[in-house]
């Protein structure tokens, strides 16, 4: 018990003495931004696979569904490509 407390205390002093807090937060923010950039597009793709109609500027689709014919990935690609 005493050892655990001592251990925690030493961890606390470690944080203060090295001033590692700012770098910790910078790294957290970097990783969060990275995760947003990574998962944003993937989420977008996943939402579109279950969305029927999705108009700007609604945050989420107004109609959901799984009608393959209207949103087959390949069809979308082909029809939208210049």
């Amino acid at each position: 018990m005493r050892n655990t407390m001592k251990h925690q205390l030493s961890l606390l002093t470690l944080c203060q003495s090295n001033k590692i807090r700012p770098s910790f937060w910078i790294q957290c923010v970097f990783i969060l931004l990275f995760a947003f950039a990574l998962f944003g597009p993937i989420t977008n793709l996943l939402i579109w696979t279950v969305a029927e109609t999705w108009y700007f500027p609604h945050a989420l689709p107004s109609e959901w569904g799984l009608n393959i014919g209207t949103k087959s990935l390949i069809l979308t690609v082909m029809s939208q490509a210049p």
Binding site: Q27, F30, L38, N44, L45, F56, T76
Partner: protein
């Protein structure tokens, strides 16, 4: 001795034949086609025509490649450095897992999801509006040159980071420890101890990424705005719309030269580092 040499030749013959038939022959045929007429005489007309029609696109391609490669280098080195050097193991192990995801998503799917993500009315702007950071009137579309760069960086980052993290992890741990107990900070260790030793790997990652970027057709088609566009699109257009293989091959020659130029620059640099020049 002699018989073993001929035996060895027979051993490599099938592989050499495959390389010759399916790689060297098409390559040299396309190069030949770029500088000859239908009758077989040498001409620079196709190259002239390619430059006349597409010099803007060639410049555009070079800018896209350079911008992507620079961004890729900065980001992949930062992520790899975080993964190897960060003292906060728990959050970094998460990073080490998620960065690989784009490896398993094909270019065309990436392009498709980015098209709806980056558009003026895409999910990204939606999210910004929903969070109150933007009003619908302030939204900007990222489709076009910036979108192309974003897609290439997004997709290739995993590959570059994988190579660079591997090279960093292969460095002797005690080399880093030696620098630390001499008083060097992590940033200093990254720039003075680690990066100088892994430049060959960074070079390889960047050159392979360049070749990939030059060869992808779907991204400029789906994310680009039409003009200017990348060389790969122009080649597809020459062939699909005009059946004009000569100019397409001339453009191929140009993109080949861009890649070769980068490779030459890299080789010269790495030789210089070794003190050979």
């Amino acid at each position: 001795m002699r018989s073993s040499t001929s035996y060895n030749l027979w051993l490599i013959a099938p592989a050499a034949l495959m390389v010759g038939l399916f790689f060297l022959y098409p390559l040299f045929f396309s190069l030949y086609s770029a500088i000859t007429t239908d009758e077989g005489g040498l001409t620079l007309a196709h190259l002239e025509k390619a430059f006349e029609l597409y010099s803007n696109d060639i410049l555009f391609t070079i800018i896209i490649v350079l911008a992507s490669v620079v961004l890729l280098a900065i980001l992949s080195i930062s992520i790899a450095a975080l993964i190897t050097l960060s003292p906060f193991r728990s959050i970094v192990s998460l990073l080490g897992f998620i960065y690989r995801i784009p490896l398993f998503i094909p270019f065309i799917v990436t392009a498709q999801m980015m098209r709806t993500f980056l558009a003026k009315n895409g999910l990204m702007n939606n999210a910004f509006i929903a969070s109150g950071m933007l009003t619908p009137l302030e939204t900007v579309s990222f489709l076009g040159w910036s979108g192309i760069i974003i897609v290439f960086v997004w997709k290739q980052l995993a590959f570059c980071t994988l190579l660079i993290t591997g090279a960093m992890a292969a460095l002797d741990e005690s080399q880093i420890r030696a620098a630390r107990n001499l008083g060097a900070s992590r940033l200093r260790i990254l720039f003075q101890i680690m990066l100088p030793q892994i430049t060959p790997t960074i070079g390889v990652a960047m050159i392979l990424s360049t070749v990939t970027i030059m060869s992808v057709l779907s991204v400029p088609l789906m994310i680009g705005t039409g003009t200017p566009t990348m060389i790969a699109t122009d080649m597809a257009f020459r062939i699909n719309s005009y059946g004009d293989y000569h100019v397409a091959n001339a453009l191929g020659l140009v993109s080949y030269l861009i890649c070769a130029g980068l490779a030459w620059f890299y080789l010269r640099q790495s030789l210089k580092d070794k003190g050979a020049i």
